[in-house]
């Protein structure tokens, strides 16, 4: 695998701030009804997975919603929600996509809704993106029936049941889910909450087909994905479109960083994990020593001067503060984890602290309406692994300020 990365230009091909005319000039004419024919089969052949974090196969999700709508005594019309809530503080690719390619997102939503036999449609996005979406909807002929809902700027506002809850009740908190949203979501209707980048990819597959989609990426991780890359100065925050299965080190280089100068990289955001900067490829599946799940495409590099324990303690404190405070294990467990991590970061020399952190993580995992507890636990667990030398140093009373594990 060569270290240099071929930057792809698919999603943003219409150029900056593309309007309807520029969009059509770049991507060609568009007929959502025509695009809907055979779309689910094309998505299956393309192997498109969600770009919002969970990496679930899009066709499977869509087929489940179509099926459960038909199975009922009174068939229910499904709902497709374009999810542009980007609660991850280190994520900015959806904002960029909605700023420059809102029409591609809308195309994908129209096609998917048509493929589900005329589903209801909502666009859900934070205030910063909302105007652009509304402007794009006005630009298009036959202004569509997409209703626009503002997402609050909270970490969990984009969690799929929170999205449905916000649209239904004006409260962006996750809901208890006895049944999947694809069976019973908004107003009891089969509901698809789809990340905006996923919808843009749907639009491209609808236009150019599954074969074309697979020309980028690998067999296991076909197509491209947007990544939000940030790191120590002088590296600037950038959004890159990279092929599936891309090497992490190549992505860092493309963003203007030298992997050798880094101690560790946070991949997948605050619910992701720390990995050493070399040896990992970005892919939703694969062995954990060679692949790391991109999640929603967040890549955040840490230099050798920073203390990984301190950085993670800050993040876990934030995650604890972002608990919806509905579920006990999360409401009490996350602040407890943050407190223990802060004590370690602050230099308390107590050999019991790290095992206690591990115990708390195991305790809260899998016990909540959403996956905030296990997401937080995964991050903490990777901190204990990747920064093991730092934990040992802190225990002996000093801080290396170097992610020694990556050396």
């Amino acid at each position: 695998m060569s270290p240099d990365i071929r930057q792809e230009h698919r999603l943003l091909a219409a150029g900056p701030d593309a309007d309807w005319a520029q969009h059509l000039a770049a991507f060609g004419p568009w007929e959502p009804q025509a695009a809907a024919t055979g779309l689910l089969e094309a998505l299956a052949a393309a192997g498109l997975t969600g770009r919002g974090g969970a990496a679930f196969e899009t066709w499977r999700k869509a087929t489940a919603a179509a099926g459960s709508g038909r199975k009922r005594l009174f068939p229910a019309r499904p709902v497709v929600i374009a999810n542009g809530a980007e609660g991850e503080p280190l994520s900015f690719k959806d904002r960029k996509l909605l700023a420059h390619a809102p029409h591609l997102v809308i195309d994908g939503q129209l096609a998917l809704a048509a493929a589900l036999g005329g589903a209801g449609m909502y666009a859900y996005a934070p205030a910063a993106s909302l105007n652009r979406v509304q402007q794009a909807l006005k630009e298009r002929p036959g202004a569509t029936k997409i209703r626009v809902v503002k997402a609050p700027d909270t970490f969990i506002s984009g969690e799929s049941s929170a999205v449905v809850n916000m649209i239904a009740n004006g409260s962006a908190l996750p809901r208890d889910q006895r049944r999947r949203l694809s069976e019973e979501g908004l107003n009891g209707r089969p509901t698809l909450v789809v990340n905006v980048e996923t919808l843009a990819q749907v639009a491209l597959i609808a236009r150019y087909g599954a074969q074309w989609f697979r020309q980028a990426g690998t067999a296991e991780d076909p197509g491209t994905r947007l990544v939000s890359v940030s790191g120590p100065a002088p590296a600037r925050d950038v959004v890159l479109e990279v092929p599936g299965g891309a090497e992490l080190s190549a992505v860092l280089e493309a963003a203007g960083m030298d992997p050798a100068s880094l101690s560790a990289v946070l991949v997948g955001g605050y619910h992701g994990r720390w990995v050493p900067p070399a040896a990992h490829a970005l892919s939703p599946s694969g062995p954990p020593d060679r692949t790391v799940r991109p999640g929603a495409g967040v890549i955040h590099a840490l230099d050798r001067q920073a203390c990984g324990i301190e950085v993670t303690a800050r993040i876990v404190g934030y995650l604890a503060s972002q608990s919806a405070r509905q579920c006990g294990p999360c409401m009490f467990g996350l602040p407890a984890m943050a407190a223990v991590l802060n004590r370690i970061a602050g230099g308390e020399r107590n050999a019991r602290l790290a095992p206690e952190l591990d115990r708390l993580g195991r305790l809260v995992s899998g016990r909540g309406a959403c996956r905030h507890p296990e997401g937080t636990t995964g991050l903490v667990r990777s901190t204990l692994e990747v920064f093991a030398p730092d934990f040992r140093a802190h225990l002996s009373g000093y801080c290396t300020g170097q992610g020694g594990a990556a050396a």
Binding site: L40, P174, R178, C327, G328, P329, S365, R367
Partner: protein
């Protein structure tokens, strides 16, 4: 036909009645909330039950002061590999 006990964490208040009625299935955590014994991941929210525990689980569902429990008779999951659109 396996049943499982669904815990609605948004309703659960950690009163602990369920753990008393199902001591072999549920333990309690530091704050009094139920923890499924020997289970990991989402099986701690949808707790698989042995037939022998079903009656006690039914009782827990009825007696939970927060109505946080549901007994779910799981239907066998659909086969994974269906063609899309069928």
């Amino acid at each position: 036909m396996t049943a499982h006990l669904h815990i609605d964490w948004t309703s659960c208040d950690g009163r602990g009645l369920c753990a008393e009625l199902l001591p072999g299935v549920l333990d309690r955590d530091d704050w009094g909330y139920p923890v499924a014994r020997g289970k990991a991941g989402r099986e701690r929210t949808d707790v698989p039950l042995r037939d022998a525990d079903r009656e006690a689980a039914r009782e827990a569902v009825h007696l939970c002061p927060k109505l946080a429990l549901t007994l779910v008779e799981r239907t066998p999951p659909e086969p994974e590999h269906r063609m899309p659109g069928r």
